[in-house]
Symmetry: C2
Subunit: 482 residues, 2 copies
Amino acid sequence: MATKEEKIIHKKITKRSEDYSQWYLDVIDAAELAEYGPVKGCMVIRPYGYAIWERIQNILDQRFKETGVQNAYFPLFIPERFLEREKDHVQGFAPEVAVVTHAGGKKLAEPLVIRPTSETVMYEVFARWIHSYRDLPLLINQWVNVVRWEMRPRLFLRTIEFLWQEGHTVHATEKEADERARLMLKIYKDFAENIMAIPVIDGIKPELEKFAGAQHTYTIEAMMQDGKSLQFATSHNLGQNFSKVFNIKFFDKDSKEHYGWQTSWGLSTRTIGGLIMTHGDDNGLVLPPKIAPIEVILTTIETGQRDASLKQKAEEISNILTTKNIRSQVDSRDLRPGEKFYEWEKKGIPIRIEVGAKEVKEEVFTIARRDSGEKIKIPFDQLANEIEKTLESIQNNLFQKALAMRQSRTKIVDQWDDFVKAIDEGNFVLAHWCEDEKVAEEIKAETGATIRCLPFESVEERGRCIKSNKPSQRRYLFARAY
Amino acid sequence: MATKEEKIIHKKITKRSEDYSQWYLDVIDAAELAEYGPVKGCMVIRPYGYAIWERIQNILDQRFKETGVQNAYFPLFIPERFLEREKDHVQGFAPEVAVVTHAGGKKLAEPLVIRPTSETVMYEVFARWIHSYRDLPLLINQWVNVVRWEMRPRLFLRTIEFLWQEGHTVHATEKEADERARLMLKIYKDFAENIMAIPVIDGIKPELEKFAGAQHTYTIEAMMQDGKSLQFATSHNLGQNFSKVFNIKFFDKDSKEHYGWQTSWGLSTRTIGGLIMTHGDDNGLVLPPKIAPIEVILTTIETGQRDASLKQKAEEISNILTTKNIRSQVDSRDLRPGEKFYEWEKKGIPIRIEVGAKEVKEEVFTIARRDSGEKIKIPFDQLANEIEKTLESIQNNLFQKALAMRQSRTKIVDQWDDFVKAIDEGNFVLAHWCEDEKVAEEIKAETGATIRCLPFESVEERGRCIKSNKPSQRRYLFARAY
């Protein structure tokens, strides 16, 4: 009989160069991150995948709260007529909603939509809460599940149900709302780059790509190893589009009634897909230490007779690491060393330390880096300091590697032929665009590339649209995208 | 124009003695804990109510993890046929499920049920994960929303959608599963009594009251101030009922295949209802310090001219409390002192400290206790220690007060007339029962009382059923219940 461990060990991960899509699914399976549930397109997030989501939640939640945001919970069910109140919003979401028509054994008088996002259900309530300028700003966030009916599901990237946080704020002035929308994007960018080691380009979405109901959508875009872009998170300046239809008004210091200025911003479990596709290699997942549920795995080397002193030493090291706030785990299972190494390698643990009879006797341990495969021998008394330094080095290395890849694959292009070629070869392309939506649609139809954003760092520059040849002032970021 | 603060200040809380049900709703409103959403029976958990839920989550989550439990996430949608596979389970839940029939603009081939609980969707997946004894025990928990169509909604206690955690475990032996079910009940009991200061009676549910699909249901029951019982949390020994229909099998060390032994256990946002009804008084919410999002509120006394030194002093005290891990907040809003006091009183903050010009000058501060209304003057340098002691004293006092109430209202009864009277007067009643379900139903029909449990501490005792007069060995706990 084949046990589960043995079966996993013998399952091969497809090479990225052979089939990138299959590699992605193989890594998710090998690292035990997630799998499909019984309903097509629904995802089960397995404990190890969920532990990554918990790290994301803990870190972001604290950062949100530091800016005055409070968590709350709003209902899963939205009356169908609510969704219809903001015209762009309903157009954007109506095609992909799931609808409850029966409950408690009866047909419902009004069908209920399962939230694809919560603007409408929240803002109906916000209107009851807000009366005066003293109630502003209102800064609310929730960590919840949402449902959008996806025809082509893909684990973490597109599933019928996913987990996210959605922040929703109301302000007294347009300026303050825009500052908040940009602040949240900045928090997302810092989180992506300094915690997940994923370099991102921040910018503003063109009209045709913005959130259904927003005035402006700010985005951060990351390059995956196949050159495609992943929208990592977005933050919307909603203007007064929703406050006018949901009647969110306040008496200001001028004793007059005004509509509130709003923002919403979200980040989802899709970022875990981005994490896999930014750092993973042909041996499986590779995790930056700051997001890793386990930073250091201590594996005992069991050869024949079990030796209790190995586990004891491993736990001693683990306890020392805990005092330095380093997350470690001891693996003293009675398995062949190779099996253990392989398992933790697939799971992307940044550092592996082998604890065998020889190491315990000589008081010298080997640190193996997941990112580079490099091994270094360290005396016991220098172990904690050396691990701390190595974790920092891994974190930096992963970010620099991803940044170097993106830089080498970002092309500034002025000719249509070069554009087509650069997109085909899997690059980010900075090119002029005349801001005509029809032209953007032609470009998409011919090359598969969409306009990811107008990068914040783009400078005014006279040029001509890559496709229409009409005058243009700015280079936009084009790429194929997830 | 009336601002929001002013409006709240002038809203009166109904006295408990006048109308207990209205008092409950008034407290929820006055403390800004929750309100109904746009769909009937759906609840919006407001930031202050959600902060209490976050404390519940943080404390319990850590305790679960200490026993080896891992978090995961399973889909919201369950194929209708799954629910039907365990016959008791479907009978229990079918009448109250919500059903998605349309999605993505089309009618679904198979209707999807929104999880009322996740046994079926999880166990289908567990069967794929478990192969060998080495995969056991499997200890999984999730913090999620669930939906049960309630005809008589009541905030926190019965809402169409609520938040909870549901733990699900699989074990190699019946004994181990039962130990796990009892361990989780013990964790719930400790949490109820030592964190929420709610005394509970632990015991086993009779057949007719157990979870749909369980072999045994263990429960903890708390007495509310109106004498009714609230089921605080339950833990189920599922036996092999589900493993047999979902085919959860494992090869044991004997190289033979066996069905797993399972448990499930849950605690929900309804415990917040229990918190309100255990400790609240005619002035609003009263929170035990250990569950309070804010343990100490420091209010500046603004009289006429704003004085920056008050806020500064309040923040200094707050910082000192933070070093002692005491959660405090400074309220330096420009409002009349009475308005501030009243607001924090309604929110049940355990300790209020006034920071006025006099206090700052004399370096002596007044600690006001929410539970007793008592005020004591403390010199600045003794403040932190005194607050720490006072918080412990409040925590103990609230538990002892609730325990004394329950003890004074628990009656041992042997005559039917006394039983009816005791139930009518809002007591817990310990009485003999012949274990005939029909008799239990008669008792319920005539008095409204249900069998809450056979308490673990009940001893064998010869007696006669309170209703049928047939022989009985044990006293059961009867009460009206939420």
